[in-house]
């Protein structure tokens, strides 16, 4: 694992860039634990102050230091993302493995439903949900809900992998030698399935974080908890752009861009490194 990172750091410029971005994000998260300001208190500093040495990202119309507020935002958003990732991984694995191994009509029915979820426009449905659960909504609940909707794409990927594994000779050998089906899955197949799960986690993270931003901006999540989306929501509420407090919008947007770009490039580089076909392509010339 470390050799992968070392090779990538040394030879892949894109990876180095991503690494820097993510390091910045991690720093922000760690800083949230030593924040001098409590994110739940408003009007603790001068309002609408532009960025300066004292307030790195300036202050908001609610009298909060934007930089320190955002450290909490990043932390919370990521925690939510991890919750979604965890739940949807579990569901995706269960669905993918079951459909792949069982085959037959169960597989067909499951995949039909699966594809429905892939195609359905989730935002209107999530808006409906968000609207109804407004009062109870918090980041944790949002994470769970997103987890319940974020599995179908990956379930299908896992299922294809299982299908191809079933046909391979080493599986037949195991079956003929009398190994119990469950152990075949765990011992022989999981090493092939897990890399896919790993690779799809990042996509899932990107998606769920994006959804969080979108839903919060619409006002459909817990607006007192700092998150990247709620930052933007509050900025809009106070008409930041119109009032000329542009840093209130720019800062969360900037942080969001760093986070998303960093995550995406990081895992794109790793995937390219691991996939032998891209290696072949990179070697040509």
């Amino acid at each position: 694992m470390f050799r992968v990172l070392r090779d990538l750091l040394r030879y892949d410029g894109r990876f180095r860039f991503a690494f820097i971005l993510l390091a910045a994000v991690v720093v922000m998260i760690l800083l949230s634990f030593v924040s001098p300001y409590d994110p739940n208190k408003t009007f603790v500093v001068a309002m609408d102050a532009p960025p300066s040495l004292e307030h790195l990202f300036g202050t908001s119309s609610r009298g909060q230091d934007i930089f320190w507020w955002l450290t909490f935002a990043v932390r919370n958003s990521l925690i939510m993302g991890v919750i979604t990732a965890a739940i949807s991984r579990v569901i995706a694995i269960i669905v993918g493995l079951t459909a792949g191994y069982q085959g037959g009509w169960l597989d067909k029915v499951m995949m039909s439903v699966n594809d429905s979820f892939v195609i359905l426009p989730l935002l209107p449905i999530l808006i409906l949900l968000g609207f109804l659960l407004r009062d109870q909504m918090n980041l944790f609940l949002l994470g769970v809900i997103l987890g319940l909707f974020g599995w179908p794409y990956d379930a299908r990927l896992i299922r294809s992998q299982v299908l191809s594994l079933k046909e391979r000779s080493f599986t037949r050998t195991a079956v003929y030698s009398g190994t119990n089906g469950f152990w075949i899955t765990i011992n022989e197949h999981l090493p092939f399935v897990l890399p896919i799960v790993f690779a799809t986690t990042i996509n899932n993270l990107l998606w769920s974080l994006g959804m969080e931003v979108t839903l919060s901006v619409l006002g459909l999540s817990d607006l007192t908890t700092p998150s990247i989306g709620t930052a933007l929501f509050w900025a809009n509420q106070h008409g930041a752009l119109v009032a000329g407090v542009w840093w209130w919008i720019a800062a969360p947007a900037l942080v969001a861009i760093i986070l998303f770009l960093g995550l995406y490039l990081f895992f794109a580089s790793i995937n390219e490194y691991i996939d032998p076909r891209t290696r072949l392509r990179l070697m040509g010339g």
């Binding site: 989730l122 808006i127 407004r134 931003v213 010339g285």
Partner: protein
């Protein structure tokens, strides 16, 4: 022909119906699972607005609302009643704009969303795929590499943030595009050239956002797809036979790569649609997105419900359309 209908058409129709069925059922179940009782919420909101109602009126109001929301009777009864109303095209009245029916308001907003969506999707799909394929076939080209970097940079960013950036840039720094609404306040929509021109100006930014984000995605997907196809036997054969480069690109590589990309397009419609909704919110474009936003603010439950249902059916229908087009491109499906 019969085989084609049996093996391809019927499963596709079934799949579309399943999508609609699953989607509508989910939309049906969600409100009934939530702890909020929309009827009570509505009544308390009305009371908060300062309307005084005596207990009798409240009771009849409650009965009317329950019926309106389709909450009368047991769950199974409700479900069938739900479908019944749907099939009749009745989505109920908008609560914020009582008694305008939801379907009417959706009908008004629809053309805006559709025009935005269709243009953006087609442009980003065509150009994303084109440049992705070129970038894969000419890997040393500088211009294409730059485009690739830009595409990769924009792709993971959520629509909302890209919209925000564009908004800030074009509203504050380079004010050439109007950044709100679809036409100046006070103008009545009509088919005059003048109107169409202002409309295009207003639609430019939301469309641009959609195109930018979509472009990156198609570019990268197409690039990796093309690299795989380049090493396929029939391409190597064509090269060995000495076929000219653009002939190979056009007829051998692209024609084959477009097939999975077409399927991908169908799969992505739901996401793009969601993106379009957000675009409208940011840029104040009077389509379904803005309608949703307003509905959320004004607690217009039936509107939100209606939009959800409408989106599901709309996207499923669009996917089915693509399913119908696909055999035109893939002879393997046409002739079994």
């Amino acid at each position: 022909m019969r085989k084609f209908i049996l093996r391809y058409l019927i499963p596709r129709i079934l799949q579309t119906l399943t999508i609609i069925f699953v989607g509508i059922t989910v939309t049906f179940i969600i409100p009934r699972l939530s702890p909020t009782d929309p009827v009570e919420a509505q009544i308390s909101m009305m009371m908060a607005r300062g309307e005084t109602l005596d207990p009798q009126s409240i009771a009849s109001m409650r009965a009317a609302l329950t019926d309106l929301y389709g909450l009368s009777g047991g769950p199974v009864q409700q479900y069938f009643a739900f479908w019944g109303r749907l099939l009749r095209g009745d989505l109920g009245p908008s609560l914020a704009n009582f008694p305008t029916p939801v379907s009417e308001m959706i009908g008004q907003a629809m053309p805006y969303t559709l025009s935005l969506l269709i243009t953006a999707v087609i442009i980003s799909w065509i150009f994303g795929n084109l440049f992705g394929a070129l970038s894969s076939y000419y890997p040393k080209n500088r211009v294409l590499s730059v485009i690739e970097v830009l595409g990769q940079a924009v792709r993971p960013i959520p629509y909302y943030i890209v919209a925000l950036v564009l908004l800030v840039v074009f509203a504050f720094f380079i004010p050439i595009f109007p950044f709100s609404g679809a036409y100046p306040i006070g103008t009545k929509p009509n088919w005059s050239l003048e109107f169409i021109w202002t409309f295009l100006q207003h639609a430019a930014l939301p469309a641009a956002t959609l195109v930018l984000v979509g472009f990156g995605g198609w570019f990268i997907g197409m690039k990796s797809l093309t690299s795989n196809i380049i090493s396929e036997d029939y391409v190597v054969y064509a090269e060995t036979a000495g076929l000219k480069e653009n002939k190979i690109l056009r007829n051998y590589i692209m024609r084959n790569a477009l097939l999975p990309q077409l399927t991908g397009l169908a799969m992505s419609l739901g996401t793009v649609f969601s993106g379009a909704l957000i675009m409208e919110v940011v840029f104040g474009f009077p389509g379904l997105g803005s309608l949703t936003m307003v509905a959320v603010y004004r607690n217009d439950y039936s509107m939100i419900m209606g939009i959800a249902i409408y989106s599901i059916i709309g996207v499923a229908a669009a996917v089915f359309l693509i399913d119908l087009i696909y055999p035109l491109f893939d002879p393997r499906v046409r002739y079994q």
